[in-house]
């Protein structure tokens, strides 16, 4: 982006005059143009790096790295205890870890989604992006993938720590690898779901801090309400039917998906979907939420003027 001004107003020779509005004497760029695909890739990578404050001042780095430390610390403690006491299983499995640390994950995603898009919308710089060879949907998809990848890495990091610990404790290798793979798959599903919801909320709450609050409040209230609903409905109906209420909470929804497709024990036993039908309904709701959020997000970016 940096352009060195040509001294003395001398323009470099051989410049074609097409598509120039004002020639104010900056040095022209004659090198290769990398095009739409490269712009998409750069935007994605910068978003991902920005998720962890890389390439940004240390003040911005503090929050994501403190949160990263906080989510890895319990995994280290679990590993240390397991290795020292010679346990035979991990107290919190690969697939349950994300559910147990849900508040931290919610805080991470609540900070990252507004960072990625609210500022661009608030400062009215969207036209600058769109004057580059990317389309609206490229911008939205690149930002979405960048944040989703950041959240995925955030959830996966402690799973990797658990896996290393399990191997140090001499658990059967293939069994552990396979189980950890399930955890990684669920991390990917959870990252997609949370990112889709949070980006949608962030795109409509532009005021500083409001996006974070909206996402946190939504996730916390959804989780609280879903927990109560699952417990109460379980008193009146069969447990399988009550589990459908878990779909109100993204974390419980993914917990239920894992219980259904991977056959792992969910963190909250009440969220296990009812047989194949339940699994299909959960999957359908997951796909519907992600697709609808992305569609609404695209629509939100239809109208972005300067300020």
């Amino acid at each position: 982006m940096s352009s060195a001004p040509a001294r003395g107003g001398v323009t470099s020779g051989g410049v074609t005059t097409e598509s120039v509005i004002h020639d104010i004497g900056f040095r022209h760029y004659d090198g290769p143009r990398l095009g739409r695909g490269w712009a998409f890739r750069s935007l994605l990578i910068e978003t991902l790096r920005g998720c962890y404050g890389l390439g940004r001042p240390s003040k911005v780095k503090a929050m994501p790295w403190v949160l990263t430390g906080l989510i890895i610390a319990p995994a280290l403690i679990i590993v240390a205890i397991t290795v020292v006491t010679g346990g035979t299983t991990l107290p919190l499995s690969y697939t349950q870890y994300a559910g147990g640390m849900w508040l931290l994950i919610a805080m991470f995603v609540a900070g990252r989604a507004p960072y990625a898009i609210s500022r661009d919308l608030r400062d009215g710089v969207m036209p600058l992006y769109l004057s580059r060879p990317i389309l609206r949907r490229d911008y939205v998809l690149a930002k979405f993938c960048g944040v989703a990848l950041g959240v995925f890495l955030y959830i996966t990091a402690p799973i990797v720590v658990l896996l290393v610990g399990a191997l140090l404790a001499k658990f059967p290798v293939w069994h552990e690898l396979w189980a950890a793979l399930g955890g990684v798959a669920m991390a990917a599903v959870l990252a997609l779901l949370l990112t889709a919801l949070s980006m949608l909320l962030a795109s409509i709450t532009l005021r500083k801090g409001l996006g974070v609050a909206a996402i946190m409040t939504t996730l916390v209230l959804a989780s609280g309400f879903a927990n109560i609903a699952v417990a109460i409905l379980g008193l009146k109906f069969s447990e399988g039917s009550a589990a459908y209420a878990a779909m109100l909470d993204p974390f419980a929804l993914v917990d239920g998906l894992g219980a259904s497709w991977l056959g792992v024990a969910p963190l909250n036993a009440g969220v296990k979907p009812d047989g194949l039908t339940g699994g299909l309904v959960f999957s359908f709701v997951f796909v519907a939420i992600v697709a609808a959020s992305l569609a609404l997000l695209m629509r939100r970016f239809k109208k972005v003027g300067g300020v």
Binding site: L103, M107, G111, R207, K208, G209, L210, V212, A213, M216, T217, V220, L221, G224, F225, I228, A229, A231, I232, L233, L235, K236
Partner: protein, 241 residues
């Protein structure tokens, strides 16, 4: 108190989006209360547990956060507080006017939601409603004062307030015994425990005795108000970039 400042604050506070959020949260509490009544046949123990954990533990702080920061944070952030501070009104008066509006609004919203919620979820001669209503009123005053102070002191008040409300009050106060004693929610529950001393099975308990809890509540509230007023008195007027 300055009536004009109060009127302006009320109008800004109960703007469309924020009042929708407040009514939405109150409605959520009532919906949960209805669900609990229907599911447990108005069992008072479940009613008390739900209203304490979800109501007093989560929704009341969130509502107080919205209100306590809403009366002043957005004005500080967009710089329009300058026009108010530049008027020949003592800053103390401005702070108190805004605080009174915040306290009044949060008391109305939280106590009404809590009493209605308890009445729906299950109660016996309004005893639980009275006890939890008292606890909510006390918690509401303290929370609103604290969030009001945070709104003036901090640059990103909503984030700081959420971390305090969810992490400190919600999670740490649940696991770490020491933290439980330093939690507005526990302090506010002390009078409720006393009011319900004839019904130990309802499980409305606090970790502190009545006297220390009330003293701590008072100190916290007064300290928060003091910090807020002092900070507003010396708030530098700067042109927003």
């Amino acid at each position: 108190m300055n009536l004009v400042v109060m009127r302006l604050t009320i109008r800004a506070l109960l703007g469309r989006r924020r009042s929708i959020m407040l009514f939405g949260i109150a409605g959520l509490l009532l919906a949960v209360a209805g669900l609990v009544r229907w599911g447990t046949d108005a069992s008072i123990t479940s009613s008390a547990a739900t209203m304490q954990n979800f109501g007093l533990g989560t929704l009341v702080p969130v509502m107080c956060l919205l209100i306590g920061t809403g009366v002043i944070a957005s004005e500080i952030e967009d710089g329009s507080i300058v026009y108010l501070l530049a008027k020949p009104i003592p800053r103390r008066t401005i702070a108190f006017s805004k605080l009174v509006v915040a306290l009044g609004t949060s008391l109305v919203f939280t106590v009404a939601a809590m009493v209605a919620g308890v009445a729906i979820a299950g109660d016996q001669d309004w005893q639980l409603a009275l006890a939890l209503g008292t606890a909510t009123a006390l918690a509401s005053i303290a929370y609103t004062a604290v969030f009001f102070a945070i709104a003036i002191v901090s640059k990103s008040p909503i984030i700081v307030g959420l971390i305090y409300a969810l992490l400190w009050e919600g999670v740490l106060a649940g696991y770490i015994p020491g933290v439980k004693d330093v939690s507005i929610r526990q302090w506010a529950l002390a009078p409720a425990e006393r009011l319900l001393s004839s019904h130990p099975t309802w499980n409305v308990t606090s970790d502190l005795g009545l006297t220390p809890a009330l003293i701590l509540l008072g100190i916290t509230t007064v300290a928060a108000v003091f910090v807020a007023v002092q900070r507003l008195k010396t708030l530098p007027i700067k042109v927003s970039e």
